[in-house]
């Protein structure tokens, strides 16, 4: 079977420049919205999915879904940290475990209003557990036992008074910012300080969670099952990776719904536009179709040729959509992560997968929009058509 040359389709689109451009842009806008929301979701999820480590265990109170809900008294946390044989030891022979206090504190935003910034009181072992993943961008680490804090890089420019050498008053105690740190994960939006000092200042003499590096080969599920009904210190244990992945459901779900609802509804509108465009192409090319058929092209070839043209329209639209969305890549934005109810900053992440899907979606829109006009074209009778012109 022979198809009319693709160049013919190209030229047809070129001849109807204005219509083509309008259709292309409307398909482009549709896929741009879809891809935009997906890259937002990707940027948010990658913070959590890609930064969690399998070998690090997070201990929470049974029933607690996040560290904000969880609490251990200091004594119980100590028992956990010092007596569990599964916890690895550091070079100093002490267990690689750390009690952490977590609290979302009110901080003023640069663009007005307040938000909840996570503050984490850590013991020195937290730095050993985090290792090289946490790097200092400026200044130094806080001195243990002092009223000093370090802030995550993403807070700069978003939260007032959270820059190097600023003083943040927590309840009634002033804390000095002595350093800015970077971490490729949600810690990036946090403030870290000495656990004892923060417990004192915030009047919360508890640890929200315990984290520990486990000895290689420890089965976390078995450990969790053993501790679940422990008499002295009931606890549930998750790997850090698993823990972080449970902290994204709500926001990610909203973005998902938004992407599919908007993509779907705008997609319908784009299909309508596409059909309209191809119908117009059809009616102005009636004569040409008649000639094609008279030349011996089969109706099926004409159908495919028209479909191809619609797909081409979708393809160009998809490319335009990608171009529209690309500049978003890397733009930082922030919202509340509803699972922890704290502010989280993240960047749009436009990935090849997202772009690929956008182009496929655009082509699909083109094909659906073009199928009816293509069918109509294929069913024309050469004699009738040529006579009509």
């Amino acid at each position: 079977m022979k198809l009319p040359p693709l160049r013919y389709n190209f030229r047809s689109l070129l001849v109807r420049r204005a219509t083509t451009i309008l259709t292309v842009i409307s398909i482009g806008a549709t896929v741009a919205v879809l891809a935009g929301i997906q890259s937002l979701q990707k940027g948010f999820l990658s913070l959590f999915d890609e930064s969690g480590r399998e070998g690090v265990a997070v201990f929470l109170r049974p029933g607690a879904g996040s560290e904000g809900e969880s609490a251990f008294t200091r004594d119980r946390a100590d028992i956990l940290m010092k007596t569990l044989p599964e916890i690895a030891s550091g070079p100093d022979g002490l267990p690689l475990a750390s009690g952490e206090l977590f609290l979302a504190v009110r901080m003023p935003k640069v663009d007005g209003g307040e938000t909840n910034v996570p503050i984490r009181g850590v013991q020195t072992k937290s730095f050993d557990i985090t290792g090289d993943l946490l790097t200092l961008e400026s200044g130094r680490r806080f001195e243990a036992g002092t009223d000093e804090i370090i802030v995550g890089r993403k807070l700069l420019g978003r939260i007032l008074g959270a820059a190097q050498d600023d003083v943040i008053v927590l309840n009634t105690t002033p804390f000095r910012v002595v350093g800015v740190f970077d971490y490729d994960g949600p810690f990036n939006s946090e403030i870290w300080g000495d656990a004892d000092r923060l417990q004192e200042a915030l009047k919360r003499r508890i640890y929200s969670r315990v984290i520990a590096t486990l000895k290689p080969g420890v089965d976390i599920a078995a450990l969790s099952a053993r501790l679940e009904n422990h008499k002295e210190v009931p606890a549930k244990v998750l790997s850090e990776k698993e823990y972080l992945s449970t902290q994204t459901g709500f926001l990610s779900g909203i973005l998902n719904v938004l992407a599919y609802v908007l993509g779907g509804v705008m997609g319908i509108a784009a299909i309508f536009t596409g059909t309209n465009t191809m119908l117009a192409a059809l009616s102005s090319r009636t004569k040409e179709i008649g000639i094609l058929l008279a030349l011996g092209f089969r109706p099926w070839s004409v159908f495919l040729s028209f479909l191809m043209e619609a797909m081409l329209l979708g393809l160009i639209g998809g490319a335009v959509g990608c171009l529209l969305v690309l500049p978003l890549s890397g733009i930082e934005t922030g919202t509340t992560n509803f699972d922890t109810f704290t502010e989280i900053a993240f960047a749009f992440q436009v990935t090849p997968t997202i772009l690929g899907n956008a182009v496929l979606f655009a082509m699909l829109l083109g094909i659906i929009g073009g199928s009816w006009p293509a069918y109509r074209a294929a069913r024309m009778r050469p004699s009738a058509v040529i006579r009509r012109g």
Partner: protein
Amino acid sequence: MIPWKLVPRYLRAHPLRSFLTLGSLTVAVFLLCFLYSVVTALNAGVASSSSSRVIVQSAVSLYVNLPLSYQPKIEAVEGVVETCKWQWFGGIYQDRSNFFAQFAVDHETLLTTYPEIEMIEGSDEEFQRLRTGCIIGKNLAQRFPELGVGKTLPLLGAIFPRAGGEAWEFQIAGIYESNSANVDNNTMFFHFDYLEESMDTGTVIADPGVGLFVVRLEEGTKTEDVQRSIDNEFSAGPQRVQTTTEAEFQRQFVTMLGSVPTLMGSIGGAVLFAILLAVINTMMMAARERTQDFGILKALGFQDRAAACLLVAEALLLSVAGGILGVGIAKVTAPIFQQVMGTTVPGYDVTSHTATVALIIAIGVGAIASLVPAWQAARLRPIQAFRAEG
């Protein structure tokens, strides 16, 4: 003179195209209504706030409790009529995905501080009488049909776990309806005393404390004065407080959303842009196809503006119809969205303001889309028109 009769005929001449254009307009107007309603709903709490109430909460964190001893001190401030404790409970009903808000409150003052809350089933007396009693919002009662007056509501305490690990059990004494956006109909309220007592007896392990105090003011009291007095009272600790008006309190939650409203706005813009192009597209096609017709009209002696007017009328007719359909769909589907997004966007509703704005935008799109083709049609010379291919 303008041959208006031609407008419906033209629309009928290409039924599929008219239908598709109408369809895209309808879809666009529906989406605009949806996005606009979400943003409106997010701001609804602020708009409907009462000025006779202020909220006292920790100045440090949303999660820090205030000491119980603060209550009499707040009540002693001049201008304060009464207070109501609110404590976030964070219980789990069957599964985490069934999330809804629960608060332990002063049962005596909940309904007097919030006259917006009205009991529609069961009774307030019953709620007062039952130590383990609770009231639930009407949307909750719809969402979980198994929960009715007289039934037991079991909640697993995530923040307030019972010592044995078993669930809390509350008796449903009533179902309420709030006619204001600042109390939503997806909440459960129970006796603070019951929570406190359980902590005292050791059946629950948690720190006693109060999330926030809702303070009702005497009529005519200057809100700022009361705010300042309360803040000063506790400025030296042990917990500093932040006293805000109810509007400010609601606004805090909106600002926490960060760029979400902006995001919604840009999506709305993109939708509008795409649809505008689609309608321009249709009108250009329509104009091109009618080149010969317009030539005939002109040759027959109709004025230049006749052709232009016909095109504009056609576009306006389509856009008004699309607008009405879109708003209609948004209105009809509103209850579904209220059900689906009850916890995320409580108070979703397509207001008449939203409907009006959407209609105006739709008509605007139609008008703009027909401008260029109409201008071209008006400038057309009959001789060119006849030469053009249909």
